[in-house]
Symmetry: C2
Subunit: 463 residues, 2 copies
């Protein structure tokens, strides 16, 4: 271990309490990017991040977009050094509903003791992505405080629309190509293998999203006056959605699997050796049976197979008591996780054709808010990936797992497509972090181990 | 025409404006009985009705129940007369959502010109049942004002829970059996055949209601982290609901049609001669194809066939934007219209078995708020029914249609079962009244013709 990194890790240990206070301060800003009521909070969070960057010696600014603002900051070491990395994170968070299931208000973070995880930080965004992005900023802070310098040049890009489809991101990358195209992107929005094993994510599923509205009668009808004779759009919607999967969990949209490659035998073997416990994974959330394709392993389903999910459904009367209504329309939000080679627009078109095929007489289908991103994968033999893997191994005392991820991080595809830039996906989240759910948490060991890991990776990347 | 009825009809004509003002005043009270926030409004509406009864010379009181209160009033003629009738109506109304589809606030009634109907009263409850119940009170008022007396003894019972399943009604009937058991019940909660043809309803469908919750994972999950592997309860719910009907619209619950009698040939012929225009009926609400059993007429579907309808559905994220969640549960409200001989408890039990059969692995079904009422039918040759039919024919210049109704009026079954009392179902609503929907209306011709009709019926019933 170099003298430098020893000092940096010492600095992180000394500053633990203040680092946690900074994370709490950021969580307290309810920066929900899908909800217009919280747009001012998103601006507040952006200002907060830019200010923190300035405090550790970055040149930083908040940049306007058509949506939530971007934060950009940069700092070069005194002695010019390669590479110049671009760090990406997002300061926006998911909505908090159902609020009633939170043990305390989601934007009042608390430390809590957890049998499996030790001390955890509970609050919306604790893991996704406020805790994660601060692991990197804390590593930079410690480097500067301990040594007066960074080992590599760093540009930081923090987005505020990751949880709402990133509509401003691509135009922003295109408009700021020169400033943002660096040798490598570091993205901290993924997970560890388990709480004591680091991971680098080398495959990410893509995502296609749409909202389907099934329309029937021209107005809400009384089910006594019309029931039996008039089309019920909820029935029509259920008829469509129930056909999405066959009995074995296979998606029934025509051509859905056409572009999906079979997993190479060596990849399958590597995943097998990870010793993933599918029974425990499902058992943790009260389930016993895999719901997707029955002839695949759960890890394969999560990392390398596409999905069709209904994320929300609503129609008719949903208040207390009963109302004997046949509603004029019923709606569902759907998303499709995509794997390499699948094109989101093609999948959404195929879904529209599927819906058209299953429409009951008198039903009309309207699609809203359709958008998507492709899956991506990286060369596991590249020099930066190997250097980062070695740094992680040094920190955690065991090799980093090279894994896939079921979630999509659209930025990674955009970096590659628009800026020709590869990414290193290293994060410290855990499967039980409850991101997007009530009582989201981030292990203190993830937060602190994450910062220590980045400190080591920054040095390892310097050539 | 007797001198008396001539004077009574003259009195109704002279008091038109004031009668309309009274209806407006009652509509202004937002007495939504399914919504706890409106319980005080229900009490207000009950007080208002009792006070109106007192103003026209009834002894009236508001009676407490475990739910919304009952209003009971009575008045006997100076010269003892037969029969003693019990009039039933309800002062509570349906919820108003979706509020955005109302052309003006639902509890600020307005007169509006309507091409098909002339002047109409628009507001929640204008037809169901505030306008309807006031037709009877206005007839009583006119009799008393014009002649100083009523032709028969009248007890009035006004309920405040008709739109929320009438939980207090049966205990109230049982506790007040002596006061409420009269020679005949008059129920004003049904419709005319069309805007110029009166009707008496001689068949009413029953109703069974339940709420189904399908539970899956123990908490909301991230669709990227779990999608493909974990059961999605919305998918499981859609799978159940989509199986409720076959392609020809026939309900697939085992035994659902076992107790359903075929329509007698003469009834079918009488309905055929009504000249019902199914195409126009469906076309009025933007539909072209009958959704129920394809081998039955629309009128048969509405009046004499049972149904299974989904009145509401909800689960997952339903707010603006997207949230890639797999929810822990998804819910639906269902109701079944029943015909003669079907037992609501038996139907609900059969539905539970149907759900159990179609549950995907790991899904659990919970049923809430299950309740129901039987269908009823009456002898069309009875003396009071014939007398009322003659009075209606005199008022409207054409015979009253003897019809069925798709809706259920549980009180009618309760009167028969608990008090041994038959009912005469006469109402002045129209198919296009939009009851239970935004912009509910009641024709002024229904309101005024209804009051005139009751004035004549009261005389016709006196022996």
């Amino acid at each position: 271990m170099s003298k430098d990194i020893e000092a940096v890790l010492g600095q992180l240990a000394a500053g633990r309490k203040l680092a946690l206070e900074r994370l709490f301060a950021l969580i307290r800003i309810p920066s929900i990017s899908t909800d217009p009521a919280h747009f001012p909070d998103c601006e507040h969070a952006a200002d907060w991040c830019a200010n923190e960057l300035r405090l550790i010696g970055f040149k930083a600014s908040v940049r306007k977009t058509k949506g939530r603002p971007m934060v950009v900051g940069s700092r070069a070491p005194a002695k010019p050094s390669r590479p110049h990395v671009l760090f990406y994170g997002h300061y926006d968070v998911q909505p908090v509903d159902p609020l009633a299931l939170w043990s305390h208000p989601p934007f009042e973070p608390r430390l809590s003791e957890d049998k499996a995880n030790g001390t955890v930080i509970v609050g919306r965004g604790a893991a996704d992505d406020k805790g994660q992005l601060l692991t990197f900023l804390e590593a930079c802070r410690a480097w500067i405080q301990a040594t007066g310098d960074l080992p590599v040049s760093v540009t930081v890009l923090l987005e505020g629309e990751e949880e709402s489809g990133s509509p401003s991101l691509e135009p922003f990358l295109e408009a700021n190509r020169a400033e943002l195209t660096r040798d490598l992107a570091l993205v901290c929005d993924s997970g560890q293998w388990d709480k004591s094993t680091p991971a680098i994510c080398t495959m990410l599923r893509g995502l296609a999203f749409t909202e389907l509205v099934v329309q029937g009668p021209s107005r809400d009808l009384h089910s006594g006056m019309y029931g039996g004779a008039a089309l019920n759009p909820i029935r029509a919607l259920a008829h469509i959605l129930a056909g999405l999967h066959d009995g074995a969990g296979r998606v029934q949209i025509a051509g859905f699997y056409d572009e999906v490659a079979e997993l190479p035998a060596d990849q399958r073997e590597q995943w097998r050796t990870l010793g993933f416990n599918a029974k425990a994974f499902l058992g943790d959330v009260g389930l016993a049976t895999q719901a997707g394709e029955m002839d695949r392993s759960v890890l394969e389903l999560l990392w390398s197979r596409p999905t069709a999910e209904i994320n929300g459904i609503w129609g008719g009367y949903t208040g207390p008591g009963s109302k004997t209504v046949i509603p004029a329309e019923a709606s569902a939000k759907l998303s499709f996780r995509l794997v390499a080679n699948q094109d989101s627009e093609k999948v959404l078109e195929a879904f529209k054709a599927f819906v058209a095929d299953r429409l009951l007489p008198d039903a009309k289908a309207v699609f809203r808010d359709s958008r998507g991103s492709r899956a991506v994968s990286f060369d596991t033999g590249s020099r930066p990936l190997q250097a980062a893997a070695a740094a992680l191994a040094a920190e955690w005392g065991k090799p980093a797992a090279l894994v896939g991820s079921g979630g999509s991080i659209p930025i990674v595809g955009a970096f590659k497509r628009l800026l020709g830039m590869d990414s290193l996906l290293i994060g410290f989240g855990l499967d039980d972090d409850r991101i997007h759910s009530p009582n989201e948490k981030y292990n203190v060991s993830s937060f602190e181990g994450g910062a220590r890991s980045w400190a080591r990776i920054l040095e390892a990347l310097a050539t």
